[in-house]
């Protein structure tokens, strides 16, 4: 049987090469189908990886509470536009919602920062120290401020990479230097490790953190004392998120004295919500690519079936001869199945090559990140094999059922 399969495969390749024009046209459907899948999957994977990194950059199991009601389409007023969330809300949540492992808060405003003879406009965030833990910030140099700094109203600052790039010379060490925010001097005690773009597309590294108390007293103004721009909380486990969200809602509604018929005057967001939006788009994309791929593979498969039926007719005498010298039904069946699978497999391999090239071109031309997974190549490989097997079955079966005498006499 080994010699049989080996020689049959060899013969199949020879026939394919001999009729390469015809074979090439036949394989076109498979090539396009597989190529499309490989390219689209790698683009999809690339996009997904970016989204995942963005979602992860928020921190793990993070809940964000923003002031103001959710409006249609999820658009809300800018952070801090309302005065519905306060520091005491945050402290109350910490007490009353035991699922929350951490709570933090922040308040921000865009301000001019001056260092030496350079200046830069950036959002300055007054935050609780816990905020840094919740959002998983780490440091490329220096470190965070402490609860003590917070209580003392210390004039210390953490600055993001973008701020560093705009205020400092290359190679200059920011930690220990003094910057002026609204003319108030702050000592830089840490540089934040870069996080890149957020899921909404803003630069997360264009930022300065200072203690909340310092911000209220010295920088942001005391107009709305005790109000916060956003509350942050986290749970130990992602499964606790929904219950924690409900807990927060209950506490805040009670504190804000909202009647049952009244809408929330705040908006609660989790990573899950943000991830879902992204996933929705990528699912549409996935669906589209699978319809393109399956139509191409179907067309390719039918092409293979067609060319094989032609081949069976053309080679009726040959089939008769093979039967006369002792080919059994399964030999003829195998021969044509192998020929079908050779066609679809070569088509599939070409499709993989074109798909990979297509993905690379996309990265270079459109600048989209692409990830080519071994998994998708393997799936494409076996899928094209299966297409050959499936669509080869009918012609192969037809060939194997020929009557040897009639086949030998066929003109």
């Amino acid at each position: 049987m080994g010699a049989f399969i080996w020689l049959t495969v060899l013969t199949a390749f020879r026939i394919l090469f001999r009729n390469r024009m015809r074979a090439g046209l036949t394989m076109l459907g498979i090539i396009i189908g597989v190529g499309a899948v490989i390219a689209m999957v790698s683009i999809g994977h690339g996009a997904k990886a970016v989204v995942q990194a963005q979602v992860a950059s928020m921190g793990t199991n993070v809940i964000i509470v923003l002031p103001g009601a959710t409006t249609v389409g999820g658009v809300r007023g800018s952070q801090g536009s309302g005065v519905t969330l306060t520091l005491s809300d945050a402290l109350e949540l910490k007490k009353r919602v035991p699922l929350l492992s951490e709570t933090g808060w922040s308040k921000r405003d865009v301000m001019q920062i001056v260092y030496g003879n350079k200046n830069w406009n950036t959002p300055v965030n007054g935050i609780s120290p816990s905020y840094l833990t919740i959002r998983d910030w780490s440091y490329s140099s220096g470190g965070p401020f402490t609860q003590a700094d917070m209580e003392a109203g210390a004039r210390v600052a953490l600055i993001g990479q973008t701020v560093v790039e705009n205020l400092y010379d290359v190679g200059e060490e920011p930690v220990g230097s003094v910057i002026r925010i609204k003319n108030v001097p702050f000592r830089v005690i840490g540089v934040l490790a870069p996080k890149g773009q957020s899921a909404q597309g803003s630069d997360q590294d264009d930022i300065i953190f200072i203690p909340f108390s310092t911000a209220e007293r010295k920088v942001l103004g005391t107009q709305f004392l005790g109000s916060v721009g956003a509350l942050f909380a986290s749970t130990d486990h992602p499964d606790d998120l929904p219950a924690a969200v409900e807990g927060i809602r209950e506490v805040l509604r009670a504190r804000h004295r909202l009647q049952p018929e009244q809408q929330d005057d705040f908006t609660i967001r989790t990573q899950v919500d943000i991830g879902l939006v992204q996933e929705g788009t990528s699912q549409t994309l996935t669906l589209m690519m699978f319809s393109v791929a399956s139509i191409s593979l179907l067309v390719g498969g039918i092409g293979i079936m067609n060319i094989l039926l032609v081949s069976v007719t053309e080679r009726t005498r040959e089939i008769g001869v093979r039967m006369a010298v002792g080919a059994k039904r399964r030999h003829i069946l195998m021969q044509f199945l192998i020929e079908a699978m050779t066609l679809s497999l070569v088509g599939g391999l070409l499709g993989i090559v074109f798909g990979v090239i297509g993905a690379q071109i996309t990265t270079v031309v459109a600048g989209w990140p692409t990830i080519i997974s071994a998994e998708s190549i393997l799936v494409a490989f076996f899928f094209s094999l299966a297409v050959g097997l499936f669509f080869g079955l009918y012609p192969a079966n037809k060939a194997s059922r020929l009557n040897p005498i009639e086949a030998l006499r066929y003109e």
């Binding site: 049989f4 005498r317 093979r322 010298v325 059994k328 039904r329 005498i405």
Partner: protein, 236 residues
Amino acid sequence: MGALIHCQDLWKVYRLGDIGVQALRGVSLSIERGGFVAIMGASGSGKSTLMNILGCLDQPTRGTYLLDGLDIGKAGRDELAEIRNLKIGFVFQSFNLIPRTSALENAQLPLFYRGVPLRQQRERAAAALARVGLSGREHHAPAQLSGGQQQRVAIARALVSQPSILLADEPTGNLDTESSREIMGILDSLNRDDGITIILVTHEQDIAHYAARQIVVKDGQIQSDRSGEPAPIGGH
């Protein structure tokens, strides 16, 4: 044991719509091992039908056919294929070589289906080609060979599996006199020197004379069955 081929009252009826064509009407026949038989008869008399049954390509509608003691009438499709592979070699009027495939590969074909290791297939096919005087033509495709050479490749393919019987339905029908003589010389030698039983169908008296026994078929029945010394026509 006795005869290699033993047929008893063979009938073959082809159904063509409502009417049945009786291609064989009660043929009884025995052929000894090592025999050389020529079957003759008018066109449509049933020669090919009989050959197809003897070659296990077809089965009789009625009657028994024992080949080497095996009841062919009862064999299934794959069993018939196996019997053909092991015991029978075919030579056709129109050569029936696989196009664009070398002489060697054509000659290998029966061994290929017998599952013989590749190397051995090649060696035996090359030996068979040498036997029919085609050494050096192993890698020629059928289109690069003359009719007589193509028929010799077909004979090599038939004898590569060392069959007990070689069936030839008008093997010289498409050949000129010279090539016919060569082909008959080879068949004669296979019969004499290798003891292969040969049954051939022919319209030509000259060709039939190579055989030790001549059977004439008429309207699906054996009209005459005559044994005589083969005439020393042709030779080498």
